[in-house]
């Protein structure tokens, strides 16, 4: 095989570090047309494409890549949209290196096709042209309530609307989008794109009611009384975990959720034009090694921090963040301190954090996740001076809604127990999907769950007895 076929993978053009660390505009610029076509031509059009198996929603990857290679962009994007209704988002935030691209045969001896870049290329092409609403079916007079407007809820609602159902999304915050709007920063996922996807779902006839905290403003029973017959719970994993070590309530210590919500949802990076403040000192420490930690660290840099370090208890190999994002963070100057964990925070008399005592770790035996368990090295304590700390060690299920639904089965970690194929919970007519079922996962897996649940809800309306668990 010619080596340009094996190794021709393009690099994503991106803005130079010196320019991008001072603003919040998007970092990767997208492939130019000729480069995208050339890359698409590199695809072997495998008879049994392994990439498709790596895709959680089974996009016909060789199919859309072939159309792209022929310059048939409209057909190509339509092919993606058969399976994935949010390609502009997925093309930017999906961990392709762990999914489709990991399975691509070219990756065995050379470089996998840049499937994610191509997906983004097509989605951007379509966005610039203006997305057309598909013809809508005649309305079916049955009401579905979707709780939460993250990728799971948006997808479920969109799919149901396309089948003609009357769908309302109830969202606790003042803006729809879930993590896409409050968590993932502008420089990685421009909010205009999220808004456009939300508008698309609305154009399908979906109503979105913001400022509606289900469990508080309305209960599930209230919605039932209002005529909703089926429910999809997509409330995400929004409860921030803290370290529970001394000094954690000192001023200057944020959960990643608070830090990112202030910056993204409330636009604190535009303070004082926007009213919500955020405080970033000279030295910032971010605790954690996932996408959330990377986003927080890169946000801190853009907000003016002079030094940002990322403190992670295992090694870089175990970091759950996307490799690309770790690379970008390091390029921008984020300093990764691995095999280290904080044990307490030190503050001054006004209650502000000034230091973080850490202990070094070494990797021991593998734990349940298969990763080697970090164990502290006695006597290795040291202090890192800090002005601001962001704790990004994970999120759990918010009990606010769940505790108000009588009898809903939860697992021991507090997530909803739902059938992986249909999203059906133990309660009749109640479905769930996304992070509230799986724990913090990915945008695409949340979307996949939303889509499967939409199909199941359709089946529930047509053949309610086909759910053995509710008989």
């Amino acid at each position: 095989m010619a080596s340009d076929r094996l190794f021709g993978r393009p690099k994503m053009p991106q803005r130079p570090v010196s320019e991008r660390v001072r603003d919040f505009f998007e970092v990767p610029l997208g492939l130019p047309e000729d480069v995208a076509i050339a890359e698409a031509r590199r695809c072997l059009q495998c008879k049994k494409p392994s990439c498709v198996k790596g895709c959680p929603v089974e996009i016909d990857i060789p199919g859309f890549v072939a159309l792209l290679a022929q310059g048939k962009f409209d057909e190509a994007i339509a092919k993606i949209k058969e399976k994935n209704s949010l390609p502009a988002i997925c093309g930017r935030v999906c961990p392709q290196e762990d999914q489709c691209e990991k399975e691509c045969v070219l990756g065995k001896k050379g470089q996998p096709i840049a499937i994610g870049y191509l997906e983004r290329f097509l989605a951007d092409y379509e966005r610039e042209k203006g997305v057309k609403t598909p013809p809508l079916p005649s309305p079916v007079p049955r009401k579905v309530a979707v709780i939460g407007s993250g990728p799971a809820g948006l997808t479920c609602a969109g799919e149901l609307a396309k089948m003609g159902y009357q769908v309302t999304i109830f969202e606790a915050l003042h803006a729809p989008g879930g993590v896409l709007i409050y968590g993932i920063p502008e420089f990685r996922l421009p909010k205009a794109i999220v808004r456009q996807e939300v508008e698309y779902v609305q154009s399908l006839g979906v109503e979105i009611q913001v400022n509606a905290v289900i469990g508080k403003t309305f209960t599930l029973d209230d919605l039932r009384d209002a005529g909703y017959e089926a429910f999809f719970i997509g409330t995400g994993a929004g409860l921030p975990y803290f370290l529970n070590i001394p000094g954690e309530n000192l001023n200057g210590i944020y959960s990643a959720n608070e830090f990112l919500t202030r910056s993204n949802l409330m636009k604190a990076y535009l303070f004082p034009r926007y009213d919500t403040p955020i405080k970033v000192g000279r030295r910032v420490a971010v605790i954690g090694g996932g996408n959330v930690a990377m986003d927080a660290a890169r946000t801190a840099l853009r907000l003016g921090a002079e030094e940002v370090c990322l403190v992670y208890r295992r090694t870089k190999k175990e970091m759950p963040a996307r490799i690309e994002e770790v690379e970008r963070a390091e390029e921008e100057g984020v300093n990764c301190i691995i095999l280290t964990t904080p044990v307490r925070f030190i503050g001054n008399e006004n209650g502000w954090v000034t230091g973080m005592e850490c202990i070094q770790m070494e990797l021991g035996e593998p734990d349940e996740s298969g990763r080697r368990r970090p164990v502290p090295v006695p006597g290795s304590e040291f202090v890192i001076p800090v002005d601001t700390v962001v704790v990004a060690i994970g999120q759990g299920p918010n009990p606010l809604l769940l505790q108000t639904i009588k009898g809903l089965a939860l697992n021991k970690r507090g997530y909803i127990v739902a059938d992986p194929e249909t999203g059906a919970t133990n309660l009749r007519g109640v479905f769930a999907g996304g992070d509230i079922v799986t724990g913090a996962a990915t945008v695409i897996s949340a979307m996949g769950a939303g889509k499967r649940a939409a199909r199941a809800i359709d089946r529930f309306f047509k053949d309610p007895d086909s759910f053995p668990q509710w008989r």
Binding site: L173, V213, F271, R273
Partner: protein
């Protein structure tokens, strides 16, 4: 959007608004709060539900103009709408018979004290209330508080009305001379701290309503965390009402000061803008 049906100026810096929010009014319980946002660039701020009417679908808020957001809110008029108005949030107080309850409201805290006193009175409790302010012109709702209390005491720091001194003076006197089963206190953190210490000295339980800085109000950010009995709790979902004996008030005082500089800056810019507008639109 929530329409403002009625606006009243209670004191120069304190305003009352009756807001059309049927879904909030229907679910509201004493002790709960709402979060609102005045405009697209605005901050989300929590305000206590001072009164509510499920039949009329209205919620009453009372706020003190202490910074930019509360000032912008104060400039809205009847017929205007508040962009975002979400609730009811937080837990309600336990509505049951305790016996003799003393309700203490300081400053703007009189407003959130009212629905609690009203509910406790309705449960058959003997309610003694103490309301206080720095000076006479800052007092409000004396009549409403009187209507839901068996006895009402009024104090002003400067003695311009009622008894001269702090609410804690009156509370101390009552605790020394009468049997009290519960104290409920809402007001500045320092006041709640003093009330809690005093009641604890007399072995009387205290419920306080905490007011840390908040963002979402649904347990998603952890900004509102407080230490109660050595445990980290989120005020917006676990509170805002907590056992006053166990709250770390000093930590709360410090946390409330997190954004002092930024708040100052936002306010100065806002006042400068307003002054400019007055010059261009004025005489």
């Amino acid at each position: 959007m929530a329409k403002i049906l009625k606006k009243e100026v209670l004191t120069p810096q304190m305003k009352l608004m009756v807001v059309e929010a049927p879904w909030v009014a229907k679910k509201a319980k004493p002790g709960q709060f709402v979060i609102l946002r005045v405009n697209e660039e605005g901050e989300r701020i929590p305000l206590t539900i001072a009164d509510f009417d499920p039949l009329l679908g209205t919620v009453t808020i009372i706020f003190q103009e202490v910074g930019k957001t509360t000032m912008m809110l104060g400039e809205l008029n009847e017929g205007d709408a508040i962009l975002d108005f979400v609730g009811p949030l937080g837990r309600e107080i336990e509505e049951k018979y305790f016996g003799h309850v003393v309700c203490v409201g300081g400053g703007v805290g009189i407003a959130p004290t009212y629905p609690k006193a009203k509910a406790l009175k309705a449960c058959g409790n003997r309610v003694t209330s103490i309301i206080g302010a720095r000076t006479a012109s800052l007092l409000f709702w004396e009549d409403k508080m009187r209507a839901v209390s068996d006895v009402l005491y009024v104090t002003t720091d400067d003695g311009t009305y009622g008894e001269k001194g702090f609410v804690t003076h009156v509370l101390g006197r009552i605790l020394r001379s009468e049997k009290v089963d519960l104290v409920v206190a809402v007001g500045p953190v320092m006041m709640m701290k003093m009330v809690s210490l005093l009641a604890k000295d007399h072995g009387v339980p205290v419920l306080v309503s905490l007011n840390p800085i908040m963002v979402d109000g649904t347990g998603m950010c952890g900004c509102c965390r407080v230490t109660v009995d050595g445990q980290c709790r989120f005020t917006c979902v676990d509170g805002p009402v907590f056992d006053g004996w166990k709250v770390d008030f000093d930590e709360l005082l410090k946390r409330q000061r997190t954004y002092l500089e930024e708040e100052r800056r936002a306010l100065d810019l806002y006042l400068a803008e307003k002054a400019k507008e007055e010059v261009t639109h004025g005489f």
